[in-house]
Amino acid sequence: MLEAQLEPYSRLRENLAARDRSLREKVMSLEEAAGLVQDGMKVGIGGSTMSRTPMALIWEIIRQRRQNLSCSRCIVSTDGDLLFGSGVSDHIITSWFAQGILWGLSKVMRHHVETQGKRYEEWSHMGVGMRLRAGGMGVPFLPMRAMLGSDVMRQRPEAKPIDCPFTGERLLLVPALNPDVALIHVQRCDAYGNAQIDGLQFMDIDLALAANKVILTTERIVSNDQIRRHPDQTKIAFLCVDAVVEVPYGAAPHECFGIYEPMLKHMDAYVKQVNADPVKGMQEYLEKYFYGPKNWNEYLELIGLEELLEASQRGRSIYND
């Protein structure tokens, strides 16, 4: 069970030393950016549940038919279904895995975990957070006080209970998580990758610091001047970022704070279809929405203007009063 999951500190430093951390333009196409994710990589996914999911990147990675990705995210929604159902990933590290509380259990997750041998590696929500934070801090572990005594801990030999050397108390050490690449969707960033995030930031700051490579998708690219006017709003600095892709509605059908709420009609129809038949229903969904469209805009057209507008109206309403 205990895989070589900890990257040696020397390699983490070497990887970082080799990255071009200068203030330079990194804008590229979705295809090019998804090409930075290679078979077998550890992929950290930003956002949480139905919020700021880097869906366009996941969409393109699935279209490029990557294999054996080991993915991690604090809480997984339909993105987890799609990663398992398309065959790009056989291992997902997370704390909660279903389509959303509104829909009950994911039949797609159940099918792949119960009968196809795919792994849903469960940590507590804070456990995922402390693993990414340790990764971002450049230390091999962090101590925490949850998970102790539970079967969640007993299923995770990678986590080590210890007696604190200062107090003698029981603590749990959780290992650092340093993804090979992080996928993060934001409201806006500049061409250098200075990213400003509105609303909930989830674990994205730790994720960006922990990963060996960071790909940002953004609702819009703004000027560096605009970033410099409000540097306090910058949550991810350019020196962590390797690629920037402008993708409007890049989290659809999930939400992006202040811009659009989840596209619930699409989500309802998706859940109905894949839960009715997690193999055929998923295949048909992927054919229609993932493999079929020529580009991201065509995918959005399939979701439909009416639904995009309605989701945008709800999304923007947060600033109305």
């Binding site: 919020s51 507590s124 990414l132 102790l148 999304g315």
Partner: protein, 256 residues
């Protein structure tokens, strides 16, 4: 107070759960019944109640008719006092800022352990459930109120898997496992209100819901229940409680 005559099982669940909260408390709430109950308490009796969400929200304000679909959506943040990273809001639990954790439950046992991970043998599960989310963190680090449907298959002697720890194997086993703080405080169902014995840490019935008999509670429970010496009958929901609750969830997303 006027007594209400017609209410659903989910409604009495939310109302009784809301009565467990006290003004001034800091409550870490899950979505659905817990959030409804916390908001109901806030509007009726506890204006100083602070609601936290694991998505990273401190001091949430929930609008009637606009319940968030999860604790990680933008709706959770509207008119909140602060948003934090999700690891940081969970760390408030570890530091001790939170009085009550408030969640739903899929399966619970006599010591208040909750399972939301596996039905059957975890090595070859009959059903893989969604998992802990923040449930394990909340139940490990603070006092818990659980609101759940009362069914025999949900109230079992021993859960298949401890996702969120209650009193583990009873007695001092929670503390000995490295969890010195918190523990299961109350379980609320449509049949009764439960607490836990100070010494054995076994679940016991503190109060029966209106019109419910001891036998009915026992018949719907998969282990032998103890009844508190001061067992009483809960006051039924008032029309006021029901009215506010229905305003909060007009589409009956969580109270059908």
């Amino acid at each position: 107070m006027t007594e209400a005559s017609n209410y659903t099982a989910s409604e009495i669940l939310a109302i009784l759960a809301s009565r467990q909260l006290k003004d001034g408390q800091v409550v870490f709430a899950g979505v659905g019944t817990p959030l409804l109950a916390a908001t109901l308490a806030q509007q009726l009796r506890c204006p100083g109640l602070t609601i936290l969400f694991e998505g990273g929200v401190v001091g949430a304000f929930v609008e009637a008719g606009k319940l968030p679909p999860s604790t990680n959506d933008q709706r959770c943040t509207k008119r909140a006092n602060m948003v934090l990273g999700s690891a940081d809001v969970l760390l408030l639990l570890q530091r001790g800022y939170v009085d009550i954790g408030f969640m739903g439950g899929a399966q619970i046992d006599q010591f208040g352990n909750l399972n939301s991970s596996f039905i059957g043998d975890p090595a070859a599960p009959k059903t893989r459930l969604p998992g802990t989310g923040g449930g394990n963190d909340i139940s490990s680090l603070t006092n818990m109120i659980v609101a759940m449907k009362h069914e025999k298959r949900r109230f079992v002697e021993k859960v298949d898997f401890i996702t969120s720890p209650g009193f583990i194997r009873g007695g001092n086993s929670r503390r000995e496992s490295g969890l010195p703080a918190g523990g299961m405080f109350r379980v609320i169902t449509e049949l009764a209100i439960f607490g836990f014995d100070e010494t054995t840490r076994r679940m016991r019935v503190l109060a029966l819901n209106p019109g419910v008999s001891r036998e009915e509670v026992q018949d719907n429970t998969g282990f032998k229940l103890e009844f508190d010496a001061n067992l009483h009958v809960t006051e039924p929901p008032t029309t006021r409680e029901l009215q506010i609750l229905r305003q909060l969830d007009p589409e009956r997303l969580f109270t059908a």
